[in-house]
Symmetry: C3
Subunit: 304 residues, 3 copies
Amino acid sequence: MKHLLGIENLNRDQIMHILETAVSFEEINQRQIKKVPTLKGLSVINFFAEPSTRTRMSFEVAEKRLSADSYNIAVSGSAITKGETLSDTALNLQAMAPDCLIIRHAVSGTPHMLAQIMDCSIINAGDGFHEHPTQALLDAYTIQKKKGKLDGLKVALMGDIAHSRVARSNIHLLTKTGSHVTVAGPATMIPKDIKKLGVEVTYDPKEAVKDADIVMMLRIQEERESGLMYPDRREYAKFFCLDEKLLSYAKPDATVMHPGPANRGVEIDDNIMDGDRSVILEQVANGVAVRMAVLYLLLGGSNS
Amino acid sequence: MKHLLGIENLNRDQIMHILETAVSFEEINQRQIKKVPTLKGLSVINFFAEPSTRTRMSFEVAEKRLSADSYNIAVSGSAITKGETLSDTALNLQAMAPDCLIIRHAVSGTPHMLAQIMDCSIINAGDGFHEHPTQALLDAYTIQKKKGKLDGLKVALMGDIAHSRVARSNIHLLTKTGSHVTVAGPATMIPKDIKKLGVEVTYDPKEAVKDADIVMMLRIQEERESGLMYPDRREYAKFFCLDEKLLSYAKPDATVMHPGPANRGVEIDDNIMDGDRSVILEQVANGVAVRMAVLYLLLGGSNS
Amino acid sequence: MKHLLGIENLNRDQIMHILETAVSFEEINQRQIKKVPTLKGLSVINFFAEPSTRTRMSFEVAEKRLSADSYNIAVSGSAITKGETLSDTALNLQAMAPDCLIIRHAVSGTPHMLAQIMDCSIINAGDGFHEHPTQALLDAYTIQKKKGKLDGLKVALMGDIAHSRVARSNIHLLTKTGSHVTVAGPATMIPKDIKKLGVEVTYDPKEAVKDADIVMMLRIQEERESGLMYPDRREYAKFFCLDEKLLSYAKPDATVMHPGPANRGVEIDDNIMDGDRSVILEQVANGVAVRMAVLYLLLGGSNS
């Protein structure tokens, strides 16, 4: 495995191998000194062409804990503003011989394009409405820690499915590992052909949550087009906000997840977000371990 | 001591201990190779939600000279722009297990709030009009080097006292260590209750400077509200700009200080700023040593 | 040699010494682990007051491969926005005792001014329309690798000569090392006194390219004033875009260069840019080695 472009093109064994590898990195993250020399001398570029704190920081923490050299490129300071094409920018970065490029970009398929023209490893940190594979992997890692397994679970995935790369990557992963996914949201937010990915569809949040082991809420992303899809946030919240009442339809030991950043009171109620069934911050913590595992497997696997 | 939130809650012994610790770090900063492995493998996040070159750089230099891993978050690229609350951003950063968060924020009390919800050490790098403790510590370090003591000195503190966190932290520190502080400025820039902090108040700059050992000028901060407090910069300068004539009222060996960045010709005259009584650049140099001491005491004290 | 401010003040031996030193760094860049401890513990500040991806990244890669500590300052987050003068900002940075400051600035002569007031080494990473010495050095390195020599070559330099610091540095370098430079461009883009630098001038691109060993295209920089100099991009491209036809006037083994970022279809045609006579990406790769050499000679020469 040279790149991590998406979950769609991974098989179950590859997914499980990444998750197993992450266990030892979670252990490193619990030490007082959370740093190992594994990737010393290697260069990793974080190229975020969309704003991000959490994901960029999580990758940078993973890189530095593995002793790699980190480089940050944000779009505002980049050559893109000088009219250069993205592929020319990429070839120029390639000429500096990095070992890995982590890319977030508003255009779906950008990481795949870069993987074709660059020699280094490419990690997709979110491309358009397409995939966000490390998010799905850290979600799966979190589910497995909580439930002890990834198969036979009932997962409710709620929100703007159409515009969510997180949804798409999670659907690929959870169906590959044998869980049952039900997606729910306003009809305008559910793509017509989503059933082809092996999920059940409902427009009724109660039906989606019913007997769920996992309730995974998606962010209502005003910065994307999804704002056009429903009258207003209050209207959305009235039907789809995860509160005590809606969650009461799930299994008593149901786990609540959210990729963040969350809009409190829109897609998730304060009580639930801060409650004891929420693993939202565990997701973030596990994200560092999972990204360390991915970097290790792509860049350091042969050495060690 | 786990956090450095302000000077107000420190006692004299704690202040003197930080200043004594800084001495050995000043020595390191004079070596050819200014780097020690003290904090190797620890993670420090510089979270600056207000623009800063000097303070952010000073902290980053301190961190890297102690071999810590530095992370920079500027507000424009942060999740805050996606509508997440600051406390949620903080909890997310906490989940990545940093050892220290350095925070600058326009809202007073932000560092204290973060100290309550995060596990890592918090250092206040300036919160609203409240405190900027490392600035007061580096000022005290500079005074002590110059005058050999921190008690019994007459200090004039001039400018927009109402909107200055630097003033507030310096007043706390200098009164705790036994110096006599006189604040001066236009009446609109002096808070009514400032006398409660143990300072003398005057609206006459000559009276403040008279027989002073230390003349500390504050920045007129157009980016804050203080612009509303006086007719214009020229009017302000006419009365309060520190020039040869005004400084002639101070002791002959008086020391001139400014936290920077300075507005030349507004609060301080070129001749004075660049003259031999000014220690403005020594303040900056000492800032690195003092911040190394603070980081060492908060993060590394137990190991060494 | 303490600073690298421009090519104009270097002699041929100094230039050749930098290029020879770069050879061993190119070799390091071809290893699996591209990192050496040469500058461990030294601090290098990248102060880019104009947007840049390529050059800033190239310097940062060079610094980290030499194990220096890198600091990045972009103008938007800097004290300049608070009304501080550049020389005050510089003196403040100096007080933190960096070993080197790399400066890009829109005002010609800025690096020279900084060299006069700061103690650390200054590297000019592009000042106004004046010089960009590391670009000329990496171009020369690339030419030498390709042609085996720097003297007796016929070089065509085409585009907006008046507003190009790349042109100016290359003209200085190539005339010092004994090559023959012809500059070409619209009459509005050729400064009247350019012949004094020892180049030939033509307004006919074919004449410039005729029998050239090297065809070096310049970027049409819309972000500068050059947009005012010709009717529109299409008009410019019609006469000066390097395509198969224009390049056919050069020697059959002519080498095509561009400092990037390129405007495809404006100053250079896709076929040529991506063709086998283009060394544009080699230029970028060589840039890292050349910058490592410069940093080594300025900062580490005495130690090793």
